[in-house]
Amino acid sequence: MTELKQRQVGTITQPRLGPTGWARWAWRQLTSMRAALLLLLCLAVAAVPGSIWPQRNIDAARVADYLQRHPLAGPWMDRIGLFDVYASPWFAAIYILLLVSLIGCIGPRTMHYARAYRAAPPRPPRHLDRLEAHRRVQVPGTPQEVVHRTRTILGRRHYRTHAYDEHSISAESGHLGEAGNLLFHASLALIVIAVAAGHLFGWRGDAIVPEGQALTNTLSSYGTFSPGPWVDTERLAPFTVRVDSMRATFEEQASGAQFGAPRVFTATVTASDGPGDPTRRTKLEVNKPLSLPGAKAFLLGNGYAPVVTVRDGAGKVVYRDATPFLPQDNNYRSTGAIKVSGLPKDRQLGFTGLFLPTATIEARIGPTSLFPALKNPALVLTAYEGELYPGGRPQNVYTLATDAMTQLRQPSGDPVRIWLTPGSTVQLPGGRGSITLESVSRFAGLSVRHDPAKPFALIGAIGAMLGLTFSFTTRRRRVFVRVMPVVGGAETTPMTIVDFGALAKGGDPRLRAAVDRLISDLFGTERERS
């Protein structure tokens, strides 16, 4: 500050700042309350687009769909990060600046607070009647007695008091409020840091597990696995979770939009911390995750896994498995693929189509499901023959890549259409064998997550709430008192004139009432004594 002034005096034109001067100026701007305000508003505005446009981290399929439907604007929107708002550089810039501002502001304020906490309240101003609240009263007693009494009363009301001379008092209250404010801001910083750490060190794996099958905690057994950049994927805890059974029920009574809404999702699972460790059997429900070593498993989805058997022309079983079909709507119209790879390479079989728990055929849209529960289940498929994995490329489990395959047709030339109900079998044309729907089981959609920084985020959240409560329930007030003897009064007892002046930080509608209360206390002690 002084440096700046001197330069201004030296040159009549603009003040010239050296690099350090500029840096200091920028730092002061950034850590000012005005900057915090501006950044907060930026953050609020910047967060909104992420709720309007689909986001990759939530639903990548919807983003792809949006891009397809908006070929012109879409790629540009993608370039400026509108589909990854919360991972975009501009969003990061705002919260990093805010974090820096926050930390740069907490430091000096804590020092200042520590100093102010030890220092005495300031000297009373000359004109108490110019303060926000002012009262003048006359009480019996000598000035010394009145000062002593007033100081006791202020102390009882949690004011810190100091007397610079024998006819005045300076008092201050509400230091806890300032401490609360600091705790609040420090906790916010902790939360931001914990969220960042969670991104760096956390991981998440999602898997679809049919009844009777198990999930082991290795990269390959997850459908998708998203590790943070600093996760060592070689060292995952070796736990397993077996899905024994999956139960789901749906609303059958209510009408309207609630009809068919899900009511209960429960998976019964057997978990083990590692090979050879004891197993435990528990229920996994939507709001009741399962704790595993270093991770938690959540039940996030469910659906049907038809158990299908495929036989070759000689009647030998070439495929038998519970094959999950992914629900596409609230009535569990599900899509999936059955890949019979245990056959000679160019004669492999692939089936793709729908599983319908309550099947019906609607005129316009064809086969669909009317209700999510198994009322009239049907598996509706078309069949292909050829090479399932051309070039050995990995592919989506739930769709069939038909580039190297040809569709099976009836001798009449119509494509083969298979409609299976539980227990029924359909023969494939040309003596290729048959396909049977044995039964329908369910699958559980499990999500396993690890976030080592979670406890810190929680501590931050609790600290922020405590800090706010302290800050808002404490009034930061200063009260000054000055006494004057009444000279030449007719009374025999000495009388004293007391001036009260008070001010509060940030506007305090109850300041006057607080002064009045002090005064009534002052008279109250008088009454008690007489």
């Binding site: 309350m33 305000l37 967060a47 609303e251 209510a254 996030l300 808002f472 940030g506 506007g507 509608p509």
Partner: protein, 305 residues
């Protein structure tokens, strides 16, 4: 009684409450008109330079009647909410219709309880009016038949998170009313083309102070809503924060109100500009409720609409 019967009694109570609220609003409006008359009468008298200063216009009987009617209407509305809860055997905030009715009840009760401490009856029209509007929306746009909850809503966090959210929104609503009146009044005072209604309201300092007092109670409650929501999300979906549209807006609302509190404490900002931020916060609440709940796709899209 069967759930269907309970539900029909609940609906009947709701319509009765709307009727009583309407009468209460007319009474409040009459009381306000009374204040406007006495205020302008004393203003003319002040010109004569000898008029006795009247800090508070004479309370009219209309205010008293309106206040009692509001208690009555609140009791009937409470019965409607309770009957609904009995019909569904759970907390009465599982869909938009239930949020709206329970939220309206919270606004009215907060207003009535605040009145035990401060005399806010002059603001009755500005509270009961919007409540009637919300109840009207509830019965026409948001009506949902009584039914059970989705599995993800079955958690005691529903009770904690949503009840605090409703209380907090009720306080923000009253705060928004005060902030709005403050902005209108301070503008009209500055242009000295003051409307007579605004002139009859308490002075700008009182309006602003009341708004602030309401906001600093509401803000920590909203902070709690945010934290409780995150804890619940962690249990239900496995991640405490994933920027789902509903989470985004809860956060936006929180940030805008934090900005309001900052603006109010920053010396460079006028009280009026800060109040505009508070109103921006309330607009975010309304967007969150009426737009995000219904039109945006996210994990919270189970409002039953």
């Amino acid at each position: 009684m069967t759930p269907r019967v309970l539900e029909s009694y609940s609906t009947l109570s709701l319509y009765s409450a709307i009727a009583v609220f309407t009468v209460a609003m007319v009474a409040f409006a009459t009381g306000l008109a009374w204040r406007v008359r006495t205020a302008s009468a004393s203003a003319t008298a002040t010109d004569a330079a000898v008029a006795p200063r009247q800090d508070r216009p004479a309370r009219s009987a209309a205010d008293g009647i309106a206040y009692s009617l509001t208690w009555l209407a609140a009791a009937i509305l409470a019965a409607a909410v309770l009957l609904r809860a009995l019909a569904v055997m759970r907390v009465p905030w599982g869909n938009m219709f239930e949020f709206t009715t329970t939220g309206s009840l919270a606004v009215v009760l907060t207003f009535l309880v605040a009145n035990l401490r401060w005399d806010l009856r002059w603001s009755g029209v500005f509270v009961v009016g919007p409540v009637l509007l919300a109840l009207g929306m509830a019965v026409t746009v948001y009506y949902t038949a009584a039914s059970q909850l989705l599995p993800s809503l079955r958690s005691y966090w529903l009770v904690i998170h949503v009840s605090v959210a409703i209380l907090s929104v009720a306080l923000f609503s009253l705060g928004a009313v005060m902030s709005l009146l403050f902005v209108l009044k301070s503008r009209s005072t500055r242009r000295s083309t003051g409307s007579r209604i605004l002139a009859a309201l308490p002075d700008t300092t009182t309006l602003e102070g009341t708004a602030y007092a309401l906001h600093i109670v509401a803000f920590p409650l909203w902070t709690f809503t945010l934290v409780a929501g995150a804890i619940w999300a962690e249990q239900a979906w496995g991640a405490y924060w994933q920027w789902d549209p509903k989470e985004v807006w809860t956060f936006v609302i929180w940030v805008v109100y934090a900005a309001y509190l900052h603006a109010r404490a920053t010396s460079g900002w006028s009280r009026e500009a800060s109040a505009l931020l508070a109103l921006a916060g309330y607009v975010s609440i309304l967007v969150n409720y009426m737009v995000v709940n219904v039109y945006f796709v996210g994990m919270h899209s189970y409002s039953g609409m």
